[in-house]
Symmetry: C2
Amino acid sequence: MLTMLSRIHSLRAISRLSLKRPLGGINFLGARATFSTHNPSYFATNRFTVDEYPYLKRSESFNRLSEKDISYFKSILASSSITQDAEDLEAFNNDWLRKYRGQSKLVLKPSSAEQVSQILKYCNEQRLAVVPQGGNTGLVGGSVPVFDEIVISLSHMSKIRSFDEVSGALVCDAGCILEVLDKYLEERGYIMPLDLGAKGSCHIGGNVATNAGGLRLLRYGSLHGTVLGLEVVLPDGTILDNLSTLRKDNTGYDLKQLFIGSEGTLGIITAVSILSPKRSKATNVALLGLNNFDQLQATFKRSKDELSEILSAFEFWDREAMRLAKQHLVAGAHDPLQSLYPFYILIETSGSNKDHDDEKLNTFLEGLMTDDVIQDGVVAQDSTQIHNLWAIREGIPEACSKAGAVYKYDISMPVPVLYQAVEDMRARLVKEGAIGDGKLFSSVIGYGHVGDGNLHLNVAATEFCKEATDLIEPYIFEWTARHAGSISAEHGLGLSKNNHLHYSKSPSMIQLMRRFKQLIDPNGIMNPYKYLPLV
Amino acid sequence: MLTMLSRIHSLRAISRLSLKRPLGGINFLGARATFSTHNPSYFATNRFTVDEYPYLKRSESFNRLSEKDISYFKSILASSSITQDAEDLEAFNNDWLRKYRGQSKLVLKPSSAEQVSQILKYCNEQRLAVVPQGGNTGLVGGSVPVFDEIVISLSHMSKIRSFDEVSGALVCDAGCILEVLDKYLEERGYIMPLDLGAKGSCHIGGNVATNAGGLRLLRYGSLHGTVLGLEVVLPDGTILDNLSTLRKDNTGYDLKQLFIGSEGTLGIITAVSILSPKRSKATNVALLGLNNFDQLQATFKRSKDELSEILSAFEFWDREAMRLAKQHLVAGAHDPLQSLYPFYILIETSGSNKDHDDEKLNTFLEGLMTDDVIQDGVVAQDSTQIHNLWAIREGIPEACSKAGAVYKYDISMPVPVLYQAVEDMRARLVKEGAIGDGKLFSSVIGYGHVGDGNLHLNVAATEFCKEATDLIEPYIFEWTARHAGSISAEHGLGLSKNNHLHYSKSPSMIQLMRRFKQLIDPNGIMNPYKYLPLV
């Protein structure tokens, strides 16, 4: 018992914790700022998407941009809302992973739903293809053009329209940055029901269009439940005004739902009404080290029982993720635990009474220690330490991207087989002699949201190439289908998954999706070549 | 201070509480059992819907049932799955409010999605109109026929297909009764994320088809967030297999969302996958008496702050509702508070630690007492008392229905104006000299889900008649539209609200709804005359 007690004691004594990263220090904002302003030639060496994916052919049903078109756009938009400069276009033609590069010659930045309506109506009549773009932080190539599609950026639509301090209903333009909204709500005692690593850059409109999941889904549920209303512009210019702030409204088909997760293929979301919960007064964060995935599952089950209503995040990553995070985090940052463990869990609790939450968390952690379910752990003692622990988790995607050309998979499946996907992929590459020093692959990394059955599988290669792709795909999709999983848990389909949709959806489902697409966008101008399988 | 303390003390001493109703004693199960088995002539005096609503005309595009059709259905269904007996048909032709009465000559009770598919495909080809029916507990006439539509009852599909004890994902047939599912989950430590007064009769398929709200929405959110997947049969016989048990799945348009709340107008839901939360170990229920609606709002705001994550219900009713509940509750039941108050609140907390929850609730109630926000209150001391307090709230709909012919409105709006709807309606009837002894109306009752901004406005008349209707409608719909509310918060549209849809949805929204309906049900055989405005 003495040993146990001393270990518990050490759990809270985290003076060793010396991560010094500020909140949001590792997010995509830095990367975006770099490439959009300080280094315009950042993308010059990137290959074009069409060179990488030679099966993609520009649709002949689309017209090419003419001077007449430019004149029209100039007649409805200020000159500051039109981008044609080649260097300036690069940030809109490339994604931050540097995996996709389009060839658009025009970016339009409307300031209102009416302007979006004018643009889309014109493009629809003139058969000009478009790509809606928010913060451009997507991971599946959905937000950048493939050929010469016109980029419609929502970045000039960033006003908060209203906030109801009684109900928590927030109404805002689609181009509002997630972190800006969260800070706005923080000042009023509320919180955005979603949070993700890209919060410093991503737009709420893009979040909704991609049905973003992220770090708070476990607690507050998906956007299908928290979005109260949308304002959407259809390809024919119709403005669908469904910006309800009501929590309950059973008057007809819930049309907004179809646009949540439609990735810009049906219309452009111009405003969002979303229900924000009260911000919790007390937050605790613990980082735990474990020896195996069975222990991780046991910890998860016990957390649902014992932390229950105060559990707000249950994230995990593996040894490889921690190794990369430590290697690539800013100077001075380091892992607060004494040894390297096969698995890490970050648990967050949020509640209204700090004493109660502390007691629940302590009892929970003591039980885990007593039963030898966890090996080590620290509990943050103040908000800086909370931010520092989160910074490790939030820094993993970027740390992975520094390991080379990273193939990213985002799959969901029953929790018991969650990590088997990583082990099987690793075993496959070992068997093929394709991983290790001087080999095509350097590492296979697993992390994600245990509470949602969501694994982020990252496979780091020396370069994006057909040989590497063929070693991973369709193997990983077949593996996912065999385990009743989804090939895209939260990232969406975009250009990287559309042709693999049949692994997760039946022919009759895909057929009905096509009929909806045809109904709303008969000319197919909305974000073409993506989302649905190419025919 | 002594006074205050003694009042607090009395708050927990609820030996006065002597309600003796068993759990679910006041629900629709009793009513249904009565009319379907013990009293087949229960509905004999009801007027037919078509007599009550003379603007309804049978569509000539539908064929009438022939012997050939009956023969076909006999070839695919067992004889016990076909009802043609006139007396037996009554329970399917009438709704429990006795407001709607159809003239169907045939009820089919398929046992599988395949049988539903065969039936719908045939009906679609033969232009035979159908009405899907679950527990037939709806309040807007959506689940009974108007003319001779064939009733397709899901009552023979009531198997639980699977339950995942790690994730809480439950997969079951559409005809499972809500209360049966909740008891099944209770034995496994989980809870259904929805609950409503009709739980003893209503089907989960009907709950999903009507996007039922109910008593737990405040805590667990709407079905748009908790339903993980659906199996749906389309009018052309296509079985849409979307019974995912994954919490996250971003592969294509979320088609299931369109069927949630579609009231049987697009297809028939044959199975549901739903995420059930862990059942809380501790539950507290308090009944409070208040002097005015401002105090009620103040209590609500403070509950969000102080009870926060353990708040699981915040219901209210007015003096008139309590008067009727006391009058019509079973013998021995009575109000546990000493006086009659203008407003009552039922607060429920659910959490994982009884001591913590008790402390939070006590602190909260003491604060309200100290600040004179509430006048009196009791806290249930055991599960029987909890059930008894809930029985008052759940008994109100039935108590209201015993007050005469009850016009029921189910509207949502911002909380600050929630009760004004009741006051304005009452004032209107007083001004018209239409309410009181010997008058057309006897009372105006308000109750509902404060946490969801959802008011149930009941207006009791001596009979359903045009004069009564005209005094309430469209006044109440115009009032709701003027206050940015919804004319149907959770009951749906059915036959009673479809022509009023324009009060809550714009022409472009209604137009798009029509296009979806046309796309999926081009022959219009699914639950005709309802949901969308008649043209």
